[in-house]
Symmetry: D2
């Protein structure tokens, strides 16, 4: 089969002919890929930024936003059958540690892995080996290519919003910093799950235009006056919750400044450094909340929203063979929404 | 091996010679039993009360409170190894449905089973087949016979108390109705996990005496004046939470009467019928909370308390061959604490 | 001024000429009434059903759903000023007991009162005496007559829905039993605050028609087959939360039958008797949740929804002098939505 | 009466003869002081550190940890009567804003004040003017001097622990960094409210000795190897919750390093700067939680613990006239526990 493999960091990947994956354990599932999202993390992988942390043996196949159809299952698999349409949680987890048993899969302390990022082949290929614990069954009518990007970008935005729901009752304000791929999903999730006032901050007026169409109540151009603008829109307080999808290049300070007393600054993006006097935490009783991808159930719930039309994605499809082009388009800002490889 | 099997309802079980269980699936675990608790539910099984609901094929082996040592494991088992000391959650769950993924195992909608109660052999035997998902690993020094009863009676009491912890801050009062096996564990859990005022109600002054030793702040004899007595001890309000370990023969009405405005009546026992005007729920904003056994993590947490000496059990050991005697002793009120069969 | 006063139970009230109320304490507020809702509870008062519980001295003025403009304030009042447009929480609370300090006003153990129901004159009059703690300030452009009914019917429905929000994530189902005044507000609140599937059950097909327009995903005629119909719409489970706005004449049993395992039956209506085997609470881990009116903050939050157009009320205005006609119309089912008296 | 007043920053206060305070509003309460705690914040006030933020008119009376007996009450006061023994919440709040109505007094957006810190005379005097909303009624047998320090140091430690209770189930670990006045109260609260493993970190071996006596399960000397030591005691993870009572001079970095994945770093002390890569929040889903004093109900609950003997304070009494000596002793580390001025 064809697979998009990294051979050397700082070089484009190659589309190789490789053997199809096979079942190796009782909970294994082989999925025929219907769509594989192209993510900024893939660019970071190619730049070698994840080499040390993940240490994959080269060459290996990338692709961690996957959906498709079940092709083969191990003898212990009871939740999906051959032929089922599925979207895949990016991190199959062990299912037996206390974190998995509590429902916090991403904190799995067992043998979790992350195909396409850890030392396991990913989904930019015709077939992928994953585990039963990663498979969320979909309406058979779903086109995997339409939803694949929800497997990582979507679940991450949903997870953060879901955690914030109890904080965002009527009369509160949510600030979304960064109206890119994740931000757009976050806005739709906020509109679907709360009646909070949604304020979106971004440098790009076009992104703000789209934000308005999908649920933003107010938009603010990040032009240096945005902290004041957000305070003006919130009676001087700032956001009850600030979702920082950027979290680098100074945005992380802005997010904290835009957070109301007793409010919560949700960090979802990364790259920068958070700094604040400890007095800020005491005087204002303000909080910083970490966020990592989402749980299996988060993905299942997000798919309910997606199949009800409450969260939609703008996508552009590429043939699997055109993976290098898709990565290049992403790198040069030529993709609106999400690029999806279709084998 | 030897096994205590039900051949006919309304007759004592027989201690039969049967083949040892073998591995049948990748997550199977065979446990060499070190101790099997004898529970009132076993008496109900013998009386045929569970026949219709569970429909087990006779003869079958009873025993659902089990601890021992891992004897053999299926190929997919990663959380325990042969030789490990383990206590067993009574209901192995599928691990793949949304309820399991959320951490609410007892609501498993997959292929959960309940050895010794459903159509599966239980632990009053030398060996038991269960699943990796039921095994909680213990300190190797633990004697399984000392803790086996925590597998069902213990987890049930712990689960209810654990759910109530956020309600039981200082200044509140918890009423424990029924100071038997479950009640005694509940009292110890309340003392370990909260600083609430613990009021214990029982007909038996001896049980109340023991209750005082293990954490009760106040005790009340259930002699007809107990509702008034509880109100007097709570400034006229009643309990913030009432744990009803009886829930039959009128105790279920008493529990509701002893529940404070905006309070919670936790039903844990069963057998009776709850009745109240709907106005009671509106005028007082009172609640009734259901409780079923507990989750895998509840059992793991309870074992932390047990191994720290914060929850202890009074037990009396019987040889496996003396199972009928143990059941008879239980039925005639001759067991203080919990009877444990040791193969 | 004019006031609608009960002189004798089982007789229509009279519209009397009485002195205007005056300030009697430092937190008192006199409100010029702009609208007073006519509620089924007013009919019950006239029938003497509240006589024993509340024991008001006759004659007294009824009316507990009030909005208007601040006319005079006591020396300790800091949250409103003369001229402010306000809606009034129905139960002024003491502000000093632990329940008030916790934010659960309705559980006030101090000197709370309920004008129009307890021994205090209500709002079917030109002026009403209440407390600073009852006043929620509104946009000055609001017409009090448009929102008055939210003060009691609205807050009650909102309070129940607000408590249920954490239970109603995507993939769950909420069942609304009773699509009358409270139910219609409840449906709108559910649509605004959650992405759950909203299933509405009522005997009246017309009420269901309206339910669909304001947010119901599914409607079910309560014709005897409705429990099965709800199960069919929920994969055989029933509602994750059932909001029982009826809770009498058998509806209270239906609500419990329609509640899913591990689900919550919210009782909001009253009049009937709840009955269930205690085993139901144990086997299914099901819960019954009481609900009483709502807190001050609930009302403030509901007004945010109302002023954003997310919750609207169908009302029919009557002159204060026509109070008897309005009560009679309500009693004979001639009012669609809510009757409002306007002085 | 006598009062300890700041006349100039950077100079010792003077014990002046001043007029007794009088009632000025309907919710005012005059308290005869029975004990006033001497706090490190008083030293900071004298150094002028709070001058800009609080801007009090000099001279003014300090003292914000107060208990005593009610001497006079305004006409709107219903919760205390003349002669009652009371401890005083340090920040009387308005009771009418949404924060007060929600139970989060410290976020009061009305006319809250902080006697002894804001521009209002404090309690190092014979009498103090405060508000009904600050008064927590005590058992008349209580000696105010024994509990006064709980009014600020105590409530602050309790508030943080109370918020963390749901996170600290059996099997978790709580790290207390800083075993001084607040830390000691925090340890006792943790022991009373949870069954978590309590690990205390401090530079001072004597403080650790005391920590063991009052509930610490493990103690670690902060000698540079303490981060590793904490990890060793927690299976390599770190604390589920870290209570940082220091939060300056590098301790704030240690606290973060000692926080487990998905854990919470509670900042209670202040003076330093928190810094961490945003990736830390994402990779580990770790959180930083702010904490400010506590609510009125926190103080009421803490007094339940204190009156049950579950939280005790080591105090050393000084005559009011010896205030300068007491401040000097505190400044030079000569006070073990808390210095209390007794008029």
């Amino acid at each position: 089969m064809k697979a998009v493999r990294v051979h050397d960091y700082h070089k484009p990947p190659l589309v190789d002919e490789v053997p199809e994956p096979t079942l190796t354990g009782p909970l294994d599932v082989i999925v025929k890929i219907g769509g594989a999202g192209v993510c900024r993390t893939d660019l970071h992988i190619l730049e070698g930024q994840w080499a040390e942390a993940m240490n994959p043996e080269l060459p290996y196949t990338i692709g961690h936003e996957n959906a498709g159809w079940v092709h083969a299952i191990g003898e212990g698999v009871t939740n999906v059958a051959v032929g089922d349409t599925v979207i895949l949680h990016p991190q199959p987890s062990c299912g037996l540690c206390l974190a998995c048993r509590r429902g916090t899969d991403m904190q799995c302390t067992g043998d979790a892995f992350f195909p396409g990022l850890s030392n396991n082949d990913g989904g930019m290929a015709e077939y992928l080996r994953t585990s039963a614990r990663a498979c969320v069954k979909l309406d058979p009518a779903t086109n995997p290519a339409d939803v694949a990007a929800l497997a990582d970008a979507g679940i991450t935005a949903y997870h953060a919003v879901r955690k914030a729901v109890p904080l965002l009752y009527p009369g509160t304000a949510a600030v979304v910093q960064g109206a890119g791929g994740l931000g757009h999903i976050g806005i739709q999730c906020l509109a679907a799950l709360t009646a909070t006032k949604i304020i979106v901050v971004d440098r790009n007026p076009e992104a703000l235009e789209l934000a308005k169409e999908i649920g933003a109540d107010e938009t603010v151009v990040a032009d240096g006056s945005h902290i004041e603008a957000v305070k003006d829109l919130t009676g001087g307080n700032g956001g009850t919750v600030v979702f920082d999808f950027v979290a680098e290049q100074g945005a992380e300070y802005d997010a904290w400044q835009m957070t109301a007393p007793a409010g919560h600054d949700f960090i979802i993006g990364y790259g920068g450094e958070f700094r604040a006097p400890t007095l800020d935490f005491v005087g204002g009783e303000k909080n910083v909340i970490g966020n990592i991808v989402g749980t299996y159930n988060d993905l299942a719930e997000l798919m309910v929203l997606a199949q009800a039309g409450k969260v939609t994605l703008h996508t552009r499809q590429y043939a699997l063979e055109d993976a290098v082009q898709a990565l290049d388009d992403l790198d040069h800002g030529r993709v609106r929404g999400r690029a999806i490889l279709v084998p």
